[in-house]
């Protein structure tokens, strides 16, 4: 049985280990589908509900069960949790949840649930784990909303459906390639800011 205890910084999920702009563990739906602020909000709600509930429920799965089996159980748990979450999103955000298409169900196998649970969340106490996973989801939501807002302005000249008068409109900003490049640039910017505020990290890297 693995009793490894790890020390964690509770702000990791916001910046240093942000799952979109730092580690990329959950960047795929943001690149593909977050083209408006509305999509970003609904995706963030779905991601938070699925991830938080799955991590908490799967923490009750005994660590005596072999790892290969445990991962399968984590996926089963999250796909069961997806059922009420999908019904909830369908009821509260009927049109936007349809826009998310297959990117919402795919969240049941996101790496925050499958990999981060094993390497981080399940080594913490239940209360600490819940708080930590919430911070990671908040970090995801922040990044998704930033990307959604930028892409909506550039691609459609709107923000939350309100028209903005601008001289240029680039419809291709809604395509995945723009998402890749934008997140790459945001990632470099985040890294610069983190290293500027914490010179120790820059020295460690060297």
């Amino acid at each position: 049985m693995d009793n490894k205890k790890i020390s964690v910084n509770l702000t990791d999920g916001l910046f240093r280990q942000n799952v979109v702009v730092s580690s990329g563990l959950a960047a795929f739906p943001v690149i593909a589908i977050v083209t408006t602020l509305k999509n970003a909000i609904v995706l963030s709600v779905g991601f938070t509900l699925i991830t938080v509930l799955s991590v908490i429920v799967s923490s009750f799965i005994s660590r005596k069960i072999i790892y290969a089996m445990r991962i399968a159980l984590f996926s089963l748990v999250s796909s069961v949790i997806y059922i009420p979450v999908a019904l909830f999103l369908r009821a509260v955000f009927p049109s936007v949840s349809v826009n998310l298409g297959m990117y919402l169900p795919i969240l049941v196998v996101n790496s925050v649930i499958l990999s981060k649970s094993e390497s981080r969340f399940h080594h913490l106490s239940k209360a600490m784990m819940s708080f930590d996973v919430l911070i990671f989801c908040f970090g995801f939501s922040l990044a998704a909303m930033l990307v959604g807002a930028i892409r909506e302005v550039v691609a459609y000249n709107t923000i939350f459906d309100y028209k903005i008068n601008m001289n240029f409109e680039m419809a291709s900003a809604a395509q995945p390639f723009f998402g890749f490049i934008l997140i790459g640039c945001l990632s470099a910017l985040t890294r610069l800011i983190i290293h500027k505020n914490n010179p120790k990290l820059s020295k460690e890297k060297k």
Partner: protein
């Protein structure tokens, strides 16, 4: 058009114009992880191909019976995870029993290659297909698209992590920009195809 040429043409379209990594963005973090080492990329390619192919064949049978159910989209992830798990445990048993050397080499990351967005996403895309021919084409084309994406990243991995890249961009950020440029090329191909 005969069956085989129809399957091949859809498979080629799926590999290039509708690439699972650069167009649908399924499994991007997995392909980046796999593309760090040549041996790991080879193992991931094999595992993902086998998992997607056999899971697709099983899911085509399941979809045939229940895809018309209006609430199927809610249960779909659960159904597909059960199918993937069945293939996963069957493959693990066969590897452990008949290929113990290969099993001991891949046992540390086989679960990452199986439970990820690329595999589940492939089954979801398959669900759009009509008839066995399209299921077969997708089940070959989607994992091959993943493999091509992996080798495109592997080819550039050393340069993307080299000292020549400014520190802020080194590694993950420049990999995203590089993927964006390749994605743009695939997008152009897709637009041209249409």
């Amino acid at each position: 058009m005969n069956f085989l040429s129809y399957v091949i043409s859809i498979a080629i379209f799926t590999i290039l114009a509708q690439n699972i990594v650069f167009q649908s963005v399924f499994g991007f973090n997995i392909v980046v992880y796999a593309a760090q080492k040549r041996s790991r990329m080879a193992a991931f390619s094999l595992i993902i191909f086998i998992t997607v192919f056999f899971s697709s064949m099983l899911s085509s049978a399941v979809d045939y019976f229940i895809r018309d159910n209006s609430s199927y989209y809610i249960y779909m992830p659960l159904v597909y995870i059960v199918i993937i798990s069945f293939v996963y445990f069957s493959a693990l048993y066969i590897m452990w029993r008949f290929f113990p050397k290969f099993y001991s080499r891949i046992k540390n990351y086989v679960h990452i290659a199986v439970y990820n967005c690329a595999v589940l996403g492939s089954l979801m895309i398959n669900n759009i297909g009509n008839g066995f021919a399209e299921y077969l084409a997708f089940s070959v084309g989607l994992p091959l698209g993943f493999i091509i994406a992996g080798y495109l990243l592997l080819a550039a991995a050393k340069r993307l992590n080299s000292e020549e890249v400014p520190a802020a961009f080194r590694g993950y950020p420049i990999t995203m920009v590089y993927a964006g440029i390749i994605s743009m090329a695939f997008y152009a191909l897709y637009e041209y195809t249409l």
